[in-house]
């Protein structure tokens, strides 16, 4: 016997109070959440750190130690590149801006000026140790012995040939210096936002230029610097993005390529990578420390002193960072690859920083942890409002009963005098209490958002909200009479609520379209529409500062569209035959037992999170295809379109199979029977009768699958490449629209740079294309399903 018994519920006080309880529960949950959100926007109790990807591993390690060993929360660390980090850091003071910027180079004067203009006047510079920059490659080749001049000649945009500066003509290392091997120059390095790149240019390029007569001869200093620091853009130097781990993987896959990486990454990956000598010295800890290895730099933290007393834990975190335990000669950061300062220098630095942070004899007079009123106020107010509403419900209900009794006497029949049940009167009063209160709450929260003295403002809001709610309550109470049509009014209110909810889906679509359009328009104001749609060159890394050289963004999206198309086509080649044949087999051949087992199993494929497929593609399928390619002499990239496409195809199989199963099942049995009567076999019937009849529906289901493939993100983010190659070779690495959106928007988010806005333009294209596919597909599927009904 089923537990769930069908019994028509008695419409009375019980159901109404059930309804009331349910509404109260959901409302409470929702509004407490809203209140907490409003509270959190008002104050932050966690350090936020942005900046260099080189310092990132150190900053997170300290963050973790700090979180575990202190009473404070662990800071949130994001890797945005030194330039990007300092830009966010200098955006102003206040809770919405980061407290610390990591940097792999000293802050520039121009950046200090920006900071000062935005009110960030007091910055503490904390040196935290050294990092060497290494030119690394995979372990399968012997390490080279290069000079800074070799590197400059290989990578500079213009080099002197016969006394004149010309566009860099060198293709192989041997052309640069005959003692080097004749392999193609291919160097993967960080993008212009990266401090590693700035330091690389400064330490290698500027040093090399001193010995080049043609460069030294340029009299204008600016022009000389530009000529010296330009990095070639013809493919020999490859922007590999801010993710240094990715460079490691790519170098492992391609032994001829070199990478520009921090020493700490070399240490972490010394089983895969080796450092090449520069000027005869290999990058080792001792040689970097002693200064013999030239390409080394100091790392810094920049601390916003204005936040020192408002963000809990900030001074303690910085103190932990410079402590002997972390940063001293035997500290845990050293295990992570940081090269320590000498013991004396470290001691001096630690003392200086602690003094600057306000420590005396290792103790800092910290203000006790306190809860800001602005943080608890919204929650308390919400609870108060709901309490008041509950009281209103009771008042309304009781008054209705009392008035009815007054009319009919105390007998059992008093209810007959009421037009509506007492509960509806209660709900009526409650609504009059909640609606004005909530409206005031929302208006207040919006007004107070981001204001300076939130505490006082919240007190005013609380007073206003509760006053309005009380007025509503009293006003509604006066209406309650036995013949008052409370039910009709409450029902009308509920209906309005229902209509609002159903408009929400429209609102979502409008929200999507508007947010995409708005940001995309700003993008097209800077980059011409035609260049975006028809350009052949995609390298969105744009110079973040005026004094940066060697990078200009270009936003031609054709290579990305082509890459998306390639991966989609591969996915379809896998998914369509398998999906269709599975559908045919399961619907027409398999016996019910097999079908009952296999069909759900097939659907599991659609239920597995895409991140799992991504992991599978990147770690199992891609290496397998690569080694398979190697055995038959094919050059398969480690991030080949094939691997991502095949795995995506597997994911899509159930989308094709279950929809086309539906469509084929909708073909009436009479058509099949007719075909059997003519003597056709089952396969002939399927091929010549069922298929043609179901074709439009099948095409529709394939279109839906295509739209799914185009919009799929995680598989390609994890298994496809980052560089936009225009190729139809499935063994090469390509990138897709979704990958680009993710890489452009994760980390550094500047809503005024074309780089960020480009992601929204891509999103718009994605949305429009999938929308068209969906509309066409849904229409055909529905049409042909109905046709046979």
């Amino acid at each position: 016997m089923p537990i769930f018994q069908v019994k028509p519920l008695k419409p009375g006080k019980r159901t109404i109070s059930k309804l009331f309880a349910a509404a109260l529960g959901w409302g409470l949950a929702g509004i407490v959440g809203f209140g907490m959100a409003a509270g959190s926007a008002a104050a932050r109790d966690q350090i936020t750190i942005v900046g260099s990807s080189t310092v990132y591993p150190f900053a997170t390690t300290v963050a973790e130690q700090f979180g575990r060993s202190s009473a404070f929360k662990s800071p949130v660390v994001e890797s945005t590149g030194t330039g990007g980090g300092l830009k966010l850091f200098c955006n102003g003071a206040g809770d919405a801006t980061p407290d610390i910027a990591d940097a792999s180079r000293p802050i520039k004067d121009s950046e200090r000026q920006t900071c000062a203009q935005n009110g960030v006047t007091d910055i503490l510079e904390v040196p935290v140790g050294f990092d060497g920059i290494a030119l690394v490659n995979g372990k399968s080749k012997a390490p080279l012995d290069l000079t800074v001049k070799d590197i400059w000649l290989a990578l500079a945009r213009e080099v002197p040939v016969n006394g004149k500066l010309v566009k860099n003509p060198y293709k192989t290392w041997a052309e640069v210096n005959p003692s080097l091997p004749p392999v193609k120059i291919e160097v993967l390095g960080p993008p212009p936002t990266s401090g590693t790149r700035d330091a690389f240019v400064e330490l290698v390029f500027d040093r090399a230029c001193g010995d080049i007569a043609e460069i030294a001869a340029i009299s204008d200093e600016k022009a000389r610097k530009a000529a010296c620091d330009g990095i070639r853009e013809d493919g020999a130097y490859i922007d590999a993005g801010e993710n240094d781990n990715l460079i490691v993987q790519k170098l492992e896959a391609n032994p001829d390529a070199f990478g520009v990486l921090g020493y700490s990454f070399l240490i972490q990956n010394q089983d895969k990578l080796q450092g090449n000598k520069i000027g005869g010295i290999a990058p080792t800890e001792d040689d970097i420390l002693s200064g013999r290895y030239e390409v080394a730099r100091q790392l810094y933290l920049y601390v916003k002193m204005q936040h020192l007393d408002t963000i809990p834990g900030l001074p303690e975190y910085v103190a932990e960072f410079v402590s002997n335990r972390a940063n001293g000669p035997g500290g845990y950061l050293i295990d992570k690859g940081l090269i320590p300062m000498s013991a004396d220098l470290h001691k001096a630095t630690e003392d200086r920083i602690l003094a600057a942070l306000g420590y005396e004899n290792g103790v800092r007079n910290t203000s006790p942890a306190f809860i800001l009123p602005a943080r608890v106020m919204p929650v308390a107010l919400t609870v108060a409002l709901l309490g008041l509403a509950g009281i209103g419900f009771q008042i309304g209900r009781r008054r209705a009963i009392a008035r009815a009794r007054a009319m009919q006497g105390n007998g059992r029949g008093f209810g007959r005098a009421l037009h509506s049940l007492p509960g509806y009167h209660g709900l009526y009063v409650m609504l009059w209490c909640l609606i004005p209160g909530l409206l005031a709450f929302v208006v207040g929260a919006v007004l107070v958002h981001g204001s300076e003295n939130a505490d006082r403002a919240w007190a005013a809001i609380a007073a206003a909200v509760l006053a309005l709610a009380a007025i509503g309550l009293v006003w509604a109470r006066r209406h309650i009479r036995p013949d008052f049509r409370a039910r009709n009014l409450v029902e009308r209110a509920i209906l309005v609520l229902l209509i609002t909810c159903s408009l929400l889906s429209i609102l979502t679509t409008v929200g999507i379209v508007l947010s995409l359009l708005f940001e995309a328009m700003r993008f097209f104001a800077r980059v011409p529409f035609t260049e975006f749609l028809f350009g052949l060159q995609w390298s969105p890394q744009i110079a973040l500062r005026a004094d940066q050289v060697g990078a200009s963004g270009s936003f031609g999206a054709i290579p990305i569209f082509a890459g998306t198309l390639l991966i989609t086509v591969i996915a379809m080649i896998v998914a369509v035959p398998i999906g269709l044949m599975s559908a045919v087999y399961l619907s027409d051949y398999a016996n019910p037992k097999v079908r009952a087992v296999v069909k759900p199993l097939l659907e599991i494929l659609a239920g597995i999170p895409t991140v799992v497929y991504g992991f599978f593609a990147a770690l199992t399928v891609a290496p397998f295809l690569r080694s398979l390619g190697a055995t038959i002499g094919l050059d398969v990239a480690s991030e080949s379109a094939l691997a991502a496409g095949v795995v995506m195809g597997v994911m899509i199989i159930p989308f094709v199979s279950s929809l086309s199963d539906d469509v084929m099942n909708a073909v009436p049995q009479s058509l099949r029977d007719g075909s059997y009567a003519l003597g056709s076999t089952k396969s002939e019937t399927i091929r010549q009768v069922v298929f043609p009849a179901a074709l439009p529906g099948i095409v529709g289901s394939i279109l839906l699958a295509v739209s799914r493939a185009i919009g799929e993100t995680m598989i390609v983010v994890m298994a496809a490449g980052l560089t936009a190659n225009l190729t139809a070779n499935p063994f090469a690495a390509v990138t897709t629209v979704t990958v680009q959106i993710v890489t452009l928007l994760v980390g550094d988010q500047e809503f005024d740079s074309p780089k960020t806005l480009a992601a929204f333009a891509l999103g718009l294209v994605l949305f429009v294309i999938t929308l068209c596919l969906n509309i066409v597909a849904l229409r055909t599927v529905r049409k042909y399903r109905e046709k046979y009904d």
């Binding site: 089923p2 769930f4 028509p8 419409p11 949950a29 929702g30 907490m36 959100a37 959190s40 591993p57 997170t60 979180g67 060993s69 949130v76 660390v77 372990k139 781990n245 490691v248 335990r325 295990d335 958002h449 981001g450 029902e491 209906l495 209509i499 909810c501 159903s502 408009l503 929400l504 889906s505 929200g511 947010s515 995409l516 398998i578 051949y589 097939l602 494929l605 239920g607 597995i608 999170p609 991140v611 799992v612 991504g614 992991f615 599978f616 076999t681 002939e684 399927i686 839906l704 799914r708 919009g711 995680m714 959106i741 993710v742 988010q749 999103g763 994605l766 949305f767 999938t770 509309i775």
Partner: protein, 440 residues
């Protein structure tokens, strides 16, 4: 399809009609084609099954070992000089002491012949660099152990853990191995001294993320997922049910409701990353909600889940037979009372099934969450829906991107935890459907 024009026997069509092939081979050829076709079907299904099996096997075989952890027993001398020279027992002093030094002393005592600086540092890697916290907690819990020597089971470093699990092969030449022959030798010596243990890894299920693979746990992401899912349910379920009720029971058939319908179906097929862009532009950009918070994650996912809930609710409501409604109208119920008191309770199992399936999809979703900053490195287990946090699938993504080899195992184990939850949710959906759903 029934009004095919039959080819007329007379005229041009006659020439196209071939003479029927009645040779004995013809029938067997047709049957062979039939068998081939059937074989393709079997092949397609088995190929899909093989892929599924391959996927699951590869993940389980990579990940099962993460649930075990190598630990190393060391005799730690809790030296009073090192920890608390003034014998104050002040927690602040006890916290600040250098416990790493104690571990290093114990290790050096085990291997007195290792003297060179570089070798020493390599030796210290045997024990995880988070082990000092374990000692600190021991001392804080019981300051009386200061001055004694205790045998403590400490977490092994990730590379040694991998060695013990056989993930780092001893047969590979030294140059291509993370651990040098010396380090392997030390580990073997510890092992032969009976100091190496292999125990269930409780840390994995009880701690947050970490930069050190051996200390990294899934709890932070699990709680983050839970908070995000709660937000999603709280928002998507009532909104979805209410809008479905309106569309199914009250809405007049007009252009507007038509548009809403088409729109809902389309929203269900919009790529999830687009919802992420919406969240970034509207919730973070316009409303200024906190980055990386489960609140925003839940908002975005609930918009994504809404169409699923609406579609499921409409189907369930539609399935309630008209006789129930008519009976209710017959005793004088208003339209809203009919719906709220009779139709909705009867449709609840169907709605729950749809909602659980929608939630399961949201639980596995990561792309939109990348857009709203739920990818930051977060150690703490979140406590509320506005604390920065991450979710299970994003944690998997983060670990998959980490360079340390030991994270491969953690990633697979994280996937296993995620899949367990998905299976549980789907099982719950099936249970609800089987147990409560009534067919009319």
């Amino acid at each position: 399809m029934t009004d095919f024009t039959m080819p007329s026997v007379a005229g041009t069509a006659t020439t196209r009609l071939r003479k029927p092939d009645l040779s004995p081979g013809r029938i067997s050829r047709r049957y062979a084609a039939e068998r081939r076709f059937r074989l393709y079907g079997v092949l397609a299904v088995s190929l899909a099954m093989v892929m599924l099996a391959l996927l699951l096997v590869s993940i389980v075989s990579k990940g099962y070992s993460a649930f075990m952890q190598t630990r190393i027993n060391l005799d730690i001398a809790f030296d009073a000089q090192e920890i608390d020279p003034q014998n104050t027992h002040d927690p602040a002093v006890l916290k600040a002491a250098n416990y790493t030094a104690l571990i290093r002393k114990a290790l050096s005592a085990q291997f007195p012949d290792v003297t060179e600086r570089i070798d020493r540092r390599r030796l210290y890697d045997v024990v995880s660099n988070g082990a000092d916290l374990q000692l600190m907690k021991m001392v804080l819990a019981n300051p009386a152990i200061i001055g004694t020597t205790q045998s403590v089971s400490l977490l092994a470093g990730d590379d040694f853990d991998m060695l013990n699990k056989g993930r780092i092969s001893r047969d590979v030449p030294e140059a291509e191995r993370v651990l040098s022959d010396k380090q392997v030798g030390w580990f073997d010596k510890l092992q032969s001294a009976g100091r190496v243990h292999y125990a269930f890894n409780t840390d994995f299920l009880t701690s947050g993320d970490s930069r050190e693979p051996e200390q990294a746990g899934i709890l932070g992401a699990l709680v983050g997922s839970l908070l995000t899912m709660i937000t999603t349910v709280v928002l998507a379920l009532p909104l979805g049910v209410m809008s479905a009720i309106y569309l199914e029971e009250f809405a007049p058939k007009n252009r507007l409701t038509d548009i809403i319908e088409v729109n809902i179906n389309n929203l269900a097929a919009v790529p999830s990353i687009v919802f992420g862009l919406l969240g970034l532009a509207v919730f973070l950009g316009f409303f200024g909600l906190p980055r990386s918070a489960p609140l925003v994650g839940g908002l975005v996912l609930s918009l994504m889940t809404l169409p699923t809930v609406i579609i499921a609710t409409r189907t369930a409501v539609k399935a309630v037979p008209p006789s129930i409604r008519e009976a209710a109208y017959g005793v004088g119920a208003s339209q809203l009372q009919v719906v709220l008191h009779h139709v909705l309770p009867l449709a609840t199992p169907g709605i729950m099934t749809g909602a659980i399936i929608g939630l399961a999809r949201a639980l596995g979703e990561s792309a939109p969450l990348l857009m709203i900053g739920m990818v930051a490195f977060i150690v703490d287990v979140p406590h509320s829906i506005v604390d920065p946090s991450t979710v299970l699938p994003v944690q998997v993504y983060l670990w998959a991107d980490s360079p340390e080899r030991a994270f491969v195992e953690r990633t697979s184990a994280g996937i296993m935890v995620l899949l367990v939850f998905l299976v549980l949710m789907n099982a719950a959906a099936i249970f609800v459907r089987r147990r409560f759903e009534r067919r009319w």
